[in-house]
Symmetry: none
Subunit: 215 residues, 4 copies
DNA sequence: CAATAATCGAGACGGTACGTCACGTCTTCTT
DNA sequence: AAGAAGACGTGACGTACCGTCTCGATTATTG
């Protein structure tokens, strides 16, 4: 994303190829991999394009040819690091569906890849394209799945029909992001469980409240 | 905070003053003001000490003499910008107590001072001292007040007695921070209201659930 | 001259032609013309092969295929710019023979082609092949003609029989080159005349000195 | 010479000093010395500011702070390398006065310092300030002395009273510069002697010609 | 009142990374 | 096989800030 646009005018011929030497896929991958590695190791503060190029065995100009600045490179690298294993299970209970996925997210946040996420969010605070990339590439795809999970919960009568799903999701994930970024408190599995219980508890249909109260 | 310690060996004489020219209060204030102004205008990305010094009409060395690095300066400037008007009212209802304060917070986040907060959180991602300063100077003082507000709610029977207050506060504020930093959704008063309703709804005592359901 | 030799192994077939596409004469000429144009306009300092190729509508590789480096290209371009009109007349007097040719040389030096000569001499200071090319292609051919002119003068008794012709020619042309390169003084026709008079005056046979003195 | 002018606005106070840290004389000298050393060793072609800075143990910015480009640096370095030993003796004969100095010049041209001169003249072909510096700093001072030497010759009756001294000097030095730059012939002491004889021979007063012829 | 001492603005210092440019080579498709 | 196109690794360019330093000037306490 956010490559230098002028370069990408689509002046390819009949056979669907631009003239000239084609872009080196090897260089592209090496750059993205080095970006992730360096971000994960040193964080954003001493992340230099020069390091990336050297580590990838690539000329600096090749980096700048395709990514207009640090932010674009980080966004692309982040997006390319296909975050597998963040899918939502279907256990028959919203609460456990959500908490299982949230635990996976926390696991990522605590891993070396978490540094990349925090670097991206940090850099995004002075680069609207970058934060937009985070939303589009990371947040949105997962939200789509989350909607489905929550709708199953509604169908099963676990959640109110008129619930604002975005509000609900922010209430579930906001606390995680907050603890991740401000680091004022732990992100334990227990925290996740009680968080789900609290928030999803507030989203129960009113008729179920009575039943819950009776039990 | 975090001044260079070696310089401040306490060799003051009888009358409680060091010899030599005393520190210029004017310079100190000019530096802090310039810091806030530049952070508010350009964010953290192109915030330079050189700019601060020039803008404050001060030598660079004067900045470095009193603040050991960018982080210390930002933290100090941030702390000095006494955030008035974030106290918690006592209306007799947790929900409205909290939502009123949260609305004030959102108002700050949307103002030019919000850029300073986001700059601080961004910079904090690669500087543990800085994020610690944010916690100590900004988060903690307000948390203390918040605890009191919530405890009043418990006393009034609006919240469960065994409620984890930190979890509850993170559930209330996390979504705000998340929307503030990721900017994926609005931070309207209505959002605050429904957020309080949802989360505090999940924190009601079980006996009140029955009552609520009946009504 | 000085093409890359390895490429030019003489593997031509029966009909005296290599297989494959023949070299494009159009490209060759366009490159040489662009070289001269750019050298004449900008001098050697910001003369780039990239410019030449772009200006000639030619791939960079085509330039490098036929000229091993900048120097070779400049030398070739310079040589190709057939310097017409620098022959020596035969007026019956060495002095006027020489001065007429020297005036033509000065006219060239003062024209746009002069920039090319000075670029070549400048570049030659860090490239022995280039300065050698200048000698072989520009200086030597004219020297051959000059020798003939001077020998006619000797035959006519205008110059000493044992005169060192190279010394004499350097004494005549050296001052021109010096003023051309250092630009400390004018290169007027009058300068040429008095230069010839001075130097050729010193080359007169001694017996003529008496005669000259008597007159 | 040719320092960045804006920096040098003379805003010094009463006591004749600008505010701020004064320029480091050590750095200045180290840079000039490194410049000469590198030019003498590698010539102009692979003379880099980066090398100069590294070799002088100096930041690149310090070089650029005081010299706006390569040319200015070379000119300054060249000028600072006070070319001792190019004075004109007073032997009582113009011919030997001149030839002795010219031999010294040739000795310099053939030494490592000759590379510096040729680099300067080469670079001067695309930089009028640089060639001007050569004239002002190198050529002119020596010309002043040369005029005196020649005038002594006139006074002694060795040269014509109305001789154009600039023409005469160019006729003497032009051939040396030409051979130095084009390298088509030797610069031996014998060459110098015969050059002086030829040119100064052409500058003798007419009455002396008779005498010379008689002998 | 002089001496001492620490701070002040200014700005040069040795560095490091920046983003750009041209080098000379290469890899593609076209002629 | 040579052509145009254009990406490649390399390395110097000139700039911007970093954090440190060295000036003269200023402003206090100490003797």
């Amino acid at each position: 994303m956010r490559q230098k646009p002028s370069v990408h005018t689509d002046n390819r011929g009949r056979n669907g190829r631009s003239p000239g030497r084609p872009r080196s896929e090897g260089a592209r991958l090496a750059i993205l991999r080095s970006t992730l590695k360096i971000l994960g190791k040193h964080g954003f503060a001493d992340f230099t394009i020069e390091d990336v190029a050297a580590h990838a065995g690539v000329g600096k100009a090749t980096v700048y040819r395709w990514w207009s600045n640090k932010a674009a490179l980080i966004a692309d690298a982040f997006a390319s690091s296909t975050t597998r294993a963040l899918h939502f299970p279907d256990t028959g209970s919203v609460c456990s569906d959500m908490s299982q996925q949230m635990r996976q997210l926390v696991k990522i946040f605590r891993s070396r890849r978490g540094r990349i996420v925090s670097a991206m969010l940090a850099a995004g605070q002075s680069d609207r394209d970058l934060i937009a990339a985070f939303r589009e590439r990371f947040l949105k795809p997962r939200r789509q799945e989350a909607y489905a999970t929550l709708r199953r919960g509604i169908a099963r009568g676990e959640l109110r029909k008129d619930m604002d799903l975005d509000l609900l999701l922010d209430s579930l994930y906001g606390p995680i992001y907050m603890r991740f970024l401000i680091r004022h408190d732990k992100m334990t599995p227990d925290f996740i469980d009680r968080l789900c219980e609290l928030v999803l508890g507030g989203a129960k249909p009113y008729q179920r409240l009575r039943a819950a109260a009776k039990s």
